[in-house]
């Protein structure tokens, strides 16, 4: 069933581009059915991973390392679920939201292509294929950022495309060097070869190339500069996708896979990750608080939160990895929720400038309440999901002896609270401006998505209870297994 994760969205993209223009509503239906199918498949994959630990699909029956393989393990299925949940809710949201744009079918085509790319990155067991899928997703996202075709959007898209291409070329360069060094492209096989060969300067060089490449995709400081332009310019559902999942799959997931399972993480790499994480955390937060454009604020907030996740991964203890992945899940949920909220505000008022809004709680009660939950969750207010991941990461940081960084993380979480209160205060609380007296709550599809995401926000704390914990734990175990990944994969083939 592994190929379906790529085949379904690709087929949808193909069909929508072929028929979407001619048959009304077909693109809506196809896209929603497609993402729903992917969501169900991804949920089903949790069960599979629970039973089999790992599934390897041999494309065309060729045995890896000669043939191409697809791998589904705990980490992949964890990521697939995140993509599934967010993309399904985003497509539902788009039914109403995208009415504002012409050529909805083009939007869905690109969206499905991007989805195919992301799912491909996740299930790919082959480094070169990972690159190919990464490029598919990236190029689709460049187009999606420019979807509004206003000057500002085109500029953002251009910057994004340039920086993205730089990232891709570094990644490709890294893969080329790795291929010349190990003579194979299969991830498990590279890992095997590297564990036999002496780790030389070459591996460090490749590590830097990958760090820069995936760091650019993940928008870690100082590689972040494209994000604050690109994410706000896209239509709200795409912003939600980009900030919620895109940077995590192409950035964090790829980084994890390459470093934890293939190259192997040395103490130096761990240290570099914590440093990058802390810097991103600080810069993102301070830049976010100064913004007055809602989506720009959220975009900077994404940098800060990704920093938090990378910081947790850099600590490297099992508890920290659990916290990091948990935070990744939480962030996917609440950041998409917040972007959808900002979309709803923009949908009803046409404005995203904080200074012109206010008091919308009385006009948009559902948007306001879900926005409150999302903002509180990301600020780490108990008992919402974000609190638990913050708690775990801080405790893990203290346990690992990173007292300084833990204190910084705490201070940054105060800043985070401050700018989300700024968002809430200027948007939903305070006095209602006369201009917004007549606006109405957004249509049902948009409300549905926001409500579901808000519910998930509230209950994610439950992922820590023993029954649901394997979902997170199996992903953590993949990271913990490190280089044993190769023997696990090859064990599954035989």
């Amino acid at each position: 069933m592994l190929p379906f994760f790529v085949v379904i969205p690709l087929a949808c993209a193909f069909l929508i581009s072929l028929l979407g223009k001619r048959i009304k509503n077909l693109s809506d239906i196809l896209a929603n059915l497609g993402t729903l199918a992917l969501l169900i498949l991804s949920l089903y994959s949790i069960g599979l991973v629970n039973n089999h630990k790992i599934l390897v699909y041999k494309v065309g029956g060729w045995i890896p390392p000669i043939g191409i393989s697809m791998v589904l393990d705990g980490l992949s299925s964890f990521m697939l679920v995140i993509v599934g949940v967010v993309s399904f809710l985003v497509t539902v949201y788009s039914i109403n939201y995208m009415e504002r744009f012409t050529d909805k079918w083009k939007f869905y085509t690109l969206f499905m292509l991007m989805l195919a790319g992301m799912n491909g990155v996740i299930v790919s067991g082959d480094l070169f294929n990972l690159f190919v899928f990464l490029e598919i997703a990236s190029i689709a996202s460049y187009a999606l950022v420019a979807f509004g075709t206003e000057a500002e959007e085109l500029e953002a898209s251009f910057k994004y495309a340039i920086m993205g291409s730089v990232a891709s070329s570094f990644i490709l360069l890294g893969i080329a060097f790795l291929y010349s060094y190990t003579s194979t492209l299969n991830m498990a096989d590279i890992s095997l070869v590297l564990s036999i060969k002496e780790p030389g300067l070459m591996v460090s060089f490749i590590a830097v190339l990958f760090l820069v490449g995936f760091g650019l995709k993940a928008a870690l400081v100082p590689f972040h500069a494209w994000l604050p332009d690109a994410h706000p310019s896209a239509p709200a559902p795409i912003s939600a996708m980009l900030s919620g999942v895109f940077i995590k799959i192409l950035g964090v997931y790829a980084l994890c896979r390459v470093f934890f399972n293939i190259l192997g993480v040395s103490d130096k790499i761990f240290f570099v990750l914590t440093i990058l994480g802390v810097i991103s955390m600080i810069l993102g937060a301070f830049l976010a608080i100064a913004q007055s454009d809602i989506k720009r604020m959220f975009a900077y907030s994404s940098i800060s939160q990704i920093g938090f996740i990378i910081f947790a991964l850099g600590i490297g203890s099992p508890l920290a990895l659990l916290g990091g992945l948990f935070h990744l899940f939480n962030h996917a949920i609440f950041k998409s929720l917040l972007f959808l909220n900002s979309g709803a505000v923009e949908y009803s008022t046409g404005v995203r400038d904080l200074k012109r809004l206010g008091g919308l709680n009385s006009r948009l009660p559902i948007t306001g309440f879900t926005g409150l939950l999302g903002a509180m969750s990301i600020s780490g207010i108990p008992p919402l999901g974000g609190f638990w991941s913050k708690l775990i990461i801080i405790i893990a940081a203290v346990q690992a002896g990173y007292f300084m960084f833990a204190s910084i993380a705490i201070l940054i979480s105060i800043v985070t609270l401050a700018y989300y209160l700024k968002f809430l205060g200027f948007t939903f609380f305070g006095k209602l401006d006369d201009a917004w007296l007549k606006i109405k709550e957004v249509p049902w599809a948009m409300r549905f998505s926001m409500i579901i995401l808000a519910i998930i926000c509230v209950i994610t704390g439950l992922l820590l209870i023993p029954i649901l914990r394997p979902f997170l734990q199996s992903a953590v175990e993949v990271l913990l297994s490190g280089r044993e990944y190769s023997s696990i994969v090859f064990g599954a083939i035989r």
Binding site: M163, V208, G215, A225, G380, I381, P382, K422
Partner: protein, 552 residues
């Protein structure tokens, strides 16, 4: 039956027991009061839901024996407080934001503290933790948790949300949270960590005492010059916390017992005072002291409650505030007896002086409040008609005022016997001279108050006559003595004048300063993000070079 055996997450002992009892009482009173006060307001469902959630979560905080559980509930209270303050009226959002940033920020610090406690002790179970403050990590953990207590209770320097909050939040909210629940929780947790979780040393005790003394004096000085009844009460809500922190900081059983008793007493009379301010607001539509006056005849029941509560907060015998302050003084004196070294002695005496002086100033500022609101001339010079508020609004403060009297007169027989003494082991009242001394102290406090009062000059003997100033008739109603100018003299007093001016500007407000620093950093960073693509590519390159060097 032992509840601990049923569930390790919860524990009930005498200290938490009476705090829960108090929370229950205050919640009921606030809900009764709100039934009338909030009747014509909007969004009542969310109001009552938040009040009830707050009450439940507070009770659970006190009940919990697990640090994580405590942290969760404690943090949740910040959210409900934010929602309770932020009811969509003008200027509420700014203050709600400030409140939540200070409270939520201190919660985050507490999280760090809990993390370090876990690192040091390996458990989250509160009754299994006993840490010595002998290394910097333990001190950091203690301070982090103490900051959360200070912010919640409103001790300096984390007090700055309280005065504004008292002014703009709905009165039941101010009475519920600022006056009672937040104090109970903050001081409860401070007592808990100081008595059980950590073993205090002398340095930390002195630190607490100094914080307490500073809070008492600085806040009461601010209270003296306020023009708004609710804001004035807000500053007193800060000032009184100083006594509790001071009491706990003494580290002597009698001082700690005094601090905890003061926490209970303060909640009682402060809630009564906020209720009366609500009554005044309901009747006159304002709490601005300039626009009030002569309400004692119109609202006798409210007046009596306010008077008793005011005397109680000023530590006048025989009310309850006197008893607990008196116990705190005793704690300080017994501390003086065992002081070793000149410096310690000086610190203790300084704190004692601050506590006594603060008591005097409290009385002084309440003279102002009572005069400006209930005595003096009414605004239009006419005698107001008796128009007491609805029973649901006068009963709660009156009930609380009567508790003030009972807890004062029968202090040893009722509250101390059942609540305080079982909670703090080994309380001994000093010698046989304590009554005389405390009376003396109170008299000194009163004298000091009178002295300061006299700085303005004694009010002339009341003689009603037609005013005649060079042929013009003088409108007495316009030139009445409102009481707000009572202490204007100290506002112009050299050094104090500068301090006041800066305090109004927010120089001593940790929130304002942090905000300034944050936005300064942010603007510097924004300057770097100039939107030019080549710059960004250069950053990437620099980052890459940095990584090469690091990973070489």
């Amino acid at each position: 039956m032992n509840i601990t055996s049923l569930c390790p997450l919860f524990k009930l002992d005498v200290l938490s027991g009476f705090v829960i009892l108090a929370i229950g009482l205050f919640s009921v009173l606030v809900i009764v009061y709100s039934l009338r006060f909030m009747r014509n307001k909007q969004k009542l469902v969310s109001f009552y839901a938040n009040i009830i959630l707050t009450a439940l979560a507070s009770a659970a905080v006190v009940f919990s024996n697990n640090l994580i559980l405590l942290l969760v509930l404690w943090g949740f209270l910040g959210l409900t407080l934010y929602l309770l303050i932020n009811r969509g009226e003008e200027s509420q959002d700014a203050i709600a934001k400030k409140t939540f940033i200070i409270i939520g920020g201190s919660d985050a610090l507490m999280l760090l503290g809990v993390g370090i406690v876990y690192y040091l002790s390996g458990t989250f179970q509160m009754d299994a933790i006993r840490l010595e403050l002998n290394n910097s990590l333990a001190v950091l953990a203690y301070l982090c948790i103490a900051v959360a207590c200070f912010a919640k209770a409103g001790a300096m320097p984390f007090h700055s949300w309280i005065p504004d909050c008292a002014r703009y939040a709905p009165v039941p909210v101010a009475a519920f949270l600022l006056a009672s629940l937040d104090k109970l929780l903050g001081i409860y947790l401070l007592a808990r960590i100081s008595l059980d979780l950590f073993v205090m040393n002398e340095a930390m005790n002195i630190f607490l005492m100094l914080i307490g003394a500073l809070t008492i004096i600085a806040a009461v000085m601010m209270a003296l010059v306020q023009h708004n009844m609710k804001r004035l009460l807000g500053y007193h809500a800060v000032s009184q916390v100083g006594y509790m922190v001071l009491g706990i900081g003494t580290g002597t059983p009698i001082g700690i017992a005094g601090g905890i008793f003061h926490m209970l007493n303060n909640s009682i009379y402060k809630q009564a005072l906020f209720f009366t301010s609500g009554n005044v607001e309901q009747k006159t539509g304002t709490t601005d002291l300039d626009k009030l006056g002569g309400l004692s005849k119109a609202m006798p029941l409210t007046y009596i409650s306010a008077l008793i509560a005011s005397l109680s907060i000023s530590g006048v015998p025989p009310f309850n505030g006197f008893v607990s302050k008196w116990m705190i003084y005793q704690g300080l004196i017994s501390k003086c007896q065992i002081a070793n070294g000149k410096w310690q002695m000086i610190v203790y005496l300084l704190c004692l002086a601050a506590a006594m002086f603060g008591s005097g100033l409290t009385l002084a500022s309440f003279l102002k409040l009572i005069h400006a609101t209930f005595l003096g001339q009414s605004v239009n010079g006419k005698r107001a008609k008796v128009a007491e508020v609805n029973w649901a609004m006068w009963l709660p403060p009156l009930l609380l005022a009567s508790i003030c009297v009972i807890f004062g007169v029968f202090a040893i027989q009722v509250p101390l016997k059942y609540f305080i003494l079982p909670a703090v082991a080994g309380v001994t009242f000093i010698g046989t001279w304590y009554a005389g001394l405390s009376t003396l102290l109170i008299i000194i406090g009163l004298l000091l108050g009178v002295l300061i009062f006299k700085l303005k000059g004694i009010r002339p003997v009341l003689r009603q006559d037609t005013a005649f100033t060079g042929g013009e008739t003088l409108d007495l109603a316009e030139n009445r003595v409102t009481g707000t100018e009572f202490y204007n003299t100290i506002k112009d007093l050299g050094l104090l004048a500068t301090i006041y001016k800066n305090a109004e500007k927010g120089l001593f407000d940790i929130y304002e300063q942090a905000k300034r620093l944050t936005f300064f950093t942010a603007s510097a960073l924004q300057y770097l993000h100039n939107g030019v693509l080549p710059t960004y590519l250069v950053w990437t390159l620099l980052g890459m070079i940095g990584l090469f060097i690091l990973l070489r």
